[in-house]
Amino acid sequence: MNRQLPSIATKRLLQMRALQAAAVVLLGVVVSASVLVGLADTASASSCSGPIRDGEIRVVLVVDASDLGGSSSATCLVVPAGTTGSQLLARRGNELGTGSPRYGSSGLLCAIDGLPATGCGDRNSGGYGYWAYFFDGGGNWSYGSNNPFSKRLNDGAIEGWRFVVGGCGCGLDPSPRIGPSRSLFPALAPALPALPEPPSTSAPSSPTSNPSTNAGGASTPIPQSAGDANLEQGVGEAEPGSLTVTTAVEAVVVGDVALASSNSTDSNTGRWIGIAAVFILIGFMAGGAWVQTRRSR
């Protein structure tokens, strides 16, 4: 019986050490995360009306926030082939200066352009209020059950997001008020003879060859990845009269809502001090517990 006592005490010590190690690892992860979050920057732009470089695709992103008091807009963007739906959203927010979309911890998209300011897919008026995802199903919107984070876009793809109020979370929910029309794409500049990229074949290969492309779409470690917020021109004839189509300039108004992460550096210092204080407390408790455990044997 006596012989195993030191080993149990050592085990307990190891346990406490493991706890402390976990705390240190956590701290390290949070530090590196906050550094990485601060790395978002801008990209060199190439216009949606051309010329398009090799390995780039043109896609249109329709965002309809009318039910939130916002507006509906269609944005044509030039992105690297193989861009995912969520990267496209992040790129759009970056280009328009409206901030990155907000996601819940489960990965559910909560807010685009800072709308809605709070909540995430909450129940309201007999259903869910959420951002529904649509894709172009040959001139009509198709309700997308895809994960925007894993769905890769092809050249000429049209993606739609509409905030649905009281929706069922199913294919019956209303689609964006701007239809997925070809006229959302501006005419390519005549300087470019033809689109160099084959649309669908080049799409899946790109992200594996340079994985850093996936960095949220917002941070751009690769110089050749380029995009442009070139608002479409032809919406006037593509949609029924009631809806409003905004330009990038108007969309910037909402920008300060979602940019909270960039100006939070001041409050972070206070948070770090609080975290350090709590972990000193935890260290005392763990040390005290270990001492007591050893003394009681």
Partner: protein, 366 residues
Amino acid sequence: MTAPRLLHPGAWWLWAVGLAACALRTTNPVLLCLIIAVAGWVVASRRADVPWSRSFASFLRLGMIVIAVRIIFQIFFGVRIPGTTLFTIPEVTLPDWAAGVSLGGPVTLESLMAAFYQGLRLAAVLACFGAATSLCSPYRMLRALPTVLYEAGVAVTVAFTFAPQAIVASRQVREARRLRGRSDRGVRAWSASALPVLEGALDRAVALAASMDSRGYGRRGSSSVSVRRRSVGLVLLGLVAIAVGSYGLLDPSAPALFRIPALGVGAAALIGALVAGGKSTVRTRYRPDPWIGPEWMVSIAGIVAFASFVLVGRMGDALSPSTNPLEVPAVPVVAVIGLLVAALPAWFAPHPPTLASSSAPLVVAA
């Protein structure tokens, strides 16, 4: 300081449930680590020298396994959450009908942090229950159960004593392996001892249930059939309603009907069953555990911690720090103070009697 004695097990359980409810309300890693530390500190200060008092370490180990499993599952099968990609694992494109499921793909820092927070929350809940298991004797807990629950007899006994019995059994099996000159570490040793441990624990729990039965627990007494049926029905209704109600209380997103109303219905049904069935039960108590000052203090400490978390939850979203975009978790002072109150039993609860100083039976043989 009061004389050394064992606290009423209900007090420790209330305290632990209060802490666990705090853990369920938050994903803030700082607060979760503090909850684990508070539980460990109190256990180290106030546990008795009995076999099951070492179960806290086992629960901590289990918690670490839970965190690891949660993160591994997130990496391979988790929902692909956008953000800062750390690395990419090969992606399996599933057919359209399975578009909601993802296998492989880019692994982001945000998704890993979210998984870590959730795993840590579960680990904290496990630590709270490990604390309750180490701090009070499972047999005393059974003695303190209200009369109506004896109808559930064997099931309750087995459920309440299985975890501590498993820990005792695992120590014995490991010791036996060591005596035979085999290793008690590593995966092979674990897999070889899993079956004897489970079997031994179940055997002990069933033996306890049988011995309790032979001593008159769960007897019907001289009540008529209709009275018995009424009380059993009320017990069932009450237990289900209380289970639903406590779920609703712990999960902030549950409908309002599942919270206080369900708890009220459950309590009313149980009290009704107590009144209907309590009279007919023939049972005496040998040296009942008192519920006096220290018991009130320990249980109130747990309730205060829970109340502080509810308060913080009302005031803002410091309890669930955003992982997308990642933010430095805020440390709500009120919640920290509440948890420090929950650590007070480490000083104010009476010491457990040691084997040398006490005439009271510490270990009740099954």
